[in-house]
């Protein structure tokens, strides 16, 4: 199955209720596939498919859908994500859950439509003003992208905050065998949602707190929530069970190439390992620090100017050597293999 098709399928299977989107290369295929699923009408939960007038409208419609307690999603790329930052910031403080699939393209500006991983810093550090944080995940196979769609919905509703799946044109456009177990669609608990107060007290989805003490209290709660979120940090480690000559750290499509490099290096007797964060935020810093103790050298492989390396420094204090590929270039196996020295 193609990545885009698989992501669309997984979203519908997971109980997606509304999709709001604006076409942007290279994410449009996800939207097209969802449109096809919507027209077939096989999924009763999937009630709204909406092509909006801009990414700004997309994010606000997501906000509305999330605020009324519905599972909603959009897919976009870097330029769209920039436009969405405002709405994401509001959603973070208002505690509104939804999922954004960011199909990373070459940036900044219009850049190009080749795969890059350059939205990482933006998504990790603050996707919006005022200290916005979002759950960020990065799959490295089509199958994993599918599970992360479902996990994204789960985490977003569990912690009531926006979630972003960082992927790129390679994963979204490649064909791969998938495995998917059909299960019951998600039914998150949404007693907080604003859809008419009924007979009970009213619900307020609000991001205005005019008194400093009110805002401080709410932000304190949010920080506690982010602290609790840390236990959801997910990662995978390959060949990390002994002393290592080099530990590669990579995620997304770069991690596939890094994994190939590690396997090739192992075959020629070099003890190489791979640490692959699945969730970028929360970041599995502790796990990485533990593995890194066994390694002589740390190398990050990514398709940007070394954004992951900076995140690792902030999270663990380690300073890995960075291997960065810019402008839509995919890491070259030989170069990655050479980097262990």
């Amino acid at each position: 199955m193609q990545g885009a098709e698989a992501i669309a399928f997984a979203a519908a299977e997971s109980g997606l209720e509304a999709y709001f989107g604006y076409p942007i290369t290279p994410s449009s295929e996800i939207m097209e596939n969802l449109a096809a699923i919507y027209e077939k009408g096989k999924y009763g939960n999937f009630r709204v498919f909406f092509q909006t007038s801009s990414e700004i409208e997309s994010i606000n419609m997501l906000f509305g859908a999330g605020a009324s307690g519905h599972i909603a999603m959009t897919a976009t790329s870097g330029p769209g994500l920039s436009l969405m930052a405002e709405g994401i910031s509001y959603s973070f403080l208002s505690q509104v859950p939804f999922l954004i699939i960011d199909v990373n393209r070459g940036g900044p500006g219009l850049g190009n439509v080749e795969p890059e991983q350059s939205d990482l810093s933006f998504v990790y550090w603050s996707l919006g003003h005022g200290g916005t944080r979002v759950i960020a995940m990065s799959p490295f196979t089509v199958s994993e992208a599918m599970t992360l769609v479902k996990k994204g919905f789960e985490l977003a509703f569990k912690y009531r905050m926006p979630a972003v799946m960082l992927t790129d044109g390679v994963i979204v456009h490649m064909y791969e065998n998938i495995s998917w177990k059909t299960s019951e669609p998600l039914r998150p608990e949404v007693s907080w949602s604003a859809r008419g107060r009924g007979n009970g007290p009213r619900h307020e989805i609000n991001s205005i707190y005019l008194e400093p003490k009110d805002l401080r209290a709410v932000k304190g709660d949010l920080l506690k929530k982010l602290e609790a979120l840390k236990k959801e940090a997910a990662y995978e480690c390959y060949y990390c069970d002994g002393p290592l000559d080099a530990l590669y750290i990579s995620y997304g499509i770069s991690a596939r190439i890094a994994l190939d490099a590690v396997r090739d290096l192992r075959r020629s007797g070099i003890r190489a390992g791979l640490f692959r964060p699945i969730t970028i935020y929360p970041f599995a810093g502790e796990a990485l620090a533990n593995v890194a103790k066994m390694a002589k050298k740390l190398v990050t492989v990514e398709m940007n100017e070394g954004q992951m390396a900076k995140i690792i420094k902030a999270e663990t204090g380690l300073e890995p050597e960075g291997l960065g590929y810019l402008g839509g270039e995919v890491p070259r196996l030989e170069e990655v293999m050479e980097a262990w020295r």
């Binding site: 209720e17 509304a18 709001f20 009630r47 709204v48 909406f50 909006t52 007038s53 801009s54 700004i56 409208e57 606000n60 419609m61 997501l62 906000f63 509305g64 859908a65 605020a67 009324s68 519905h70 909603a72 405002e86 709405g87 509001y90 208002s94 604003a194 859809r195 008419g196 107060r197 009924g198 007979n199 009213r202 619900h203 307020e204 989805i205 609000n206 991001s207 205005i208």
Partner: protein, 259 residues
């Protein structure tokens, strides 16, 4: 004898508008109309940014705070997913016609049954009286201190003129919400006709939504603090200047709810 209070407002909260501001009046009419239609329990208010935001402490229905100018988008999403809900927003003229015009006209074109109440006081009130797209010549603002709209800004924007071009709009009306000052021999009086008409407009707009149509009502109001006028002067200004520029009246009533 005790008076029955509106369940749409918190009994002990005061709204936080300036004295004499008709924002409070509009909010009161919305509360009254929701009660009259019996839809308080399924009403969702979407707050926009500007002085209209301040409603959140006062009104006792479900509330979603939108980013600046984006209330129509949020309303449409809620309405699509919760067709039973009654969704409305109070937007200011800066919110709806400046930053949020794209959202507004797209919503009008689609005609998803939601209601926008536009409170037009011809300035950005909350940020301190800057020029809005609706500011007329002669009104001094902090960004047009001479009181003259710069030529390249074009004439003041007419919301009803824009929206009358969209078939999706099923109820379109402009009313004056400001009580008209009447000068008798010995004293000043205020008429209540405008208030009652405004209430009817609110009621009819919500009825149109319940009948499945997009409704939009523009209220001509004051911002005496930022116009640097007394309450009385500002009310006079609306009737003498604003109402001449933005003609009040019914533009469209497809479902015949006015009758």
């Amino acid at each position: 004898m005790e008076v029955k209070q509106l369940s749409t407002f918190f009994p002990n909260a005061a709204n936080t508008y300036c004295p004499g501001c008709e924002h409070g009046l509009l909010l009161k009419f919305i509360g009254m109309a929701l009660e009259e239609l019996g839809v308080v329990d399924r009403a969702v208010m979407v707050g926009s940014v500007g002085c209209s935001t301040l409603a959140y402490k006062f009104i006792n229905v479900d509330y979603v705070q939108a980013p600046h100018g984006r209330a129509p988008s949020i309303m449409q999403a809620i309405k699509l997913l919760e067709p039973e809900s009654v969704v409305f927003a109070i937007q200011g003229d800066g919110d709806a016609l400046s930053i949020g015009l794209q959202e507004l006209i797209n919503a009008a074109n689609r005609g998803i049954p939601v209601t926008v109440f536009l409170y037009n006081n011809m300035v950005f009130g909350m940020t301190g009286g800057q020029m809005a797209p609706t500011t007329p010549n002669g009104l001094k603002t902090t960004t047009t201190p001479g009181g003259i709209r710069y030529k390249y800004l074009g004439p003041p924007l007419d919301a009803c003129k824009i929206l009358s071009g969209f078939d999706g709009v099923k109820y379109l009306k402009r009313v004056i919400i400001t009580p008209r000052p009447i000068y008798t021999k010995d004293r000043l009086m205020y008429s209540s006709k405008e208030a009652i008409e405004s209430y009817r407009a609110v009621l009819n707009a919500l009825k149109t939504q319940l009948n499945g149509g997009f409704s939009f009502v523009e209220f001509l109001g004051t911002c005496n603090v930022n116009w640097k006028m007394t309450i009385e002067e500002s009310k006079k200004y609306v009737h003498e200047v604003t109402a001449k520029m933005f003609r009040p009246g019914l533009c469209r009533d497809e479902f015949g709810v006015e009758k």
